[in-house]
Symmetry: C2
Subunit: 118 residues, 2 copies
DNA sequence: TACATACTGAACCATATAGTTCAGTGTCTA
DNA sequence: TAGACACTGAACTATATGGTTCAGTATGTA
């Protein structure tokens, strides 16, 4: 039995799993932006954009600050360090597995045998 | 207007957003495994585990092969390259933003001003 | 003061996730 | 051949996501 409970990674990866949100990060990398300007750029209602920003904020990837009537969004200081580390560590696992040559053999065997992928 | 449509990244990040699934990848890094053995290790029904494996499979992170009555799961050849690249590229964006010193200033200003994070 | 702007919140919708149970089907093995 | 084993699929539950509309509230501006 193994127990995995890594909430911060959950939130960050979930935030990154949406193309619009990845686009928002992209955009904020080119400069801070208001909710309205983001909503325009991604052709979405204000409310819809606000939700995306909230998801990014919960994940710590974006921070926002309201001045007057404008809420400005910027990239969070948290960054993507933890995610990069997880990915890099596991990328090694993947590669290690493929250096085992039985992999290549079973790969060849798999061509034209069964496969009943639901 | 910006259009982002990156399905493979969507699927992979979504697959990685669940701690159990990250655990499965972890586990498969230590050796191939059947659905049953994974279900045991993560204290979950067979059906539940099958669903997780399907999510990983759709994302290309895991491949499975049924031999006799046993379906064996292993890490997919696809790996985490695309995800690593996205993360690394954007990590730079985050860091670049923080080298701008107005960042530090506004960071200081933010302490004890508004904040109405819904 | 009146109007426009920028956001906020509630409510709703369709679909997906994460999990379950239960009832199979197909494959070993004694 | 009879059981047991490993998976599969359908159905159901509760909750989350990604989006909308509509009705506010607060702020800036003419």
């Amino acid at each position: 039995m193994v127990q995995y409970v890594t909430l911060p990674l959950d939130l960050a990866f979930a935030a990154l799993s949406d193309a619009t949100r990845r686009g928002i990060i992209d955009q904020l990398g080119r400069g801070d932006a208001s909710i309205t300007s983001l909503a325009d750029k991604f052709q979405m209602t204000l409310t819809g954009m606000k939700k995306h920003v909230q998801v990014l904020e919960r994940a710590g990837l974006v921070v926002t600050q309201k001045v007057g009537r404008v809420r400005t969004c910027k990239l969070g200081k948290r960054g993507l360090k933890a995610e990069a580390e997880w990915i890099e560590a596991h990328r090694k696992l993947f590669e290690a597995r493929f250096e085992a040559l039985d992999e290549i053999i079973s790969e060849m065997k798999r061509e034209g045998s069964d496969e009943s992928a639901s």
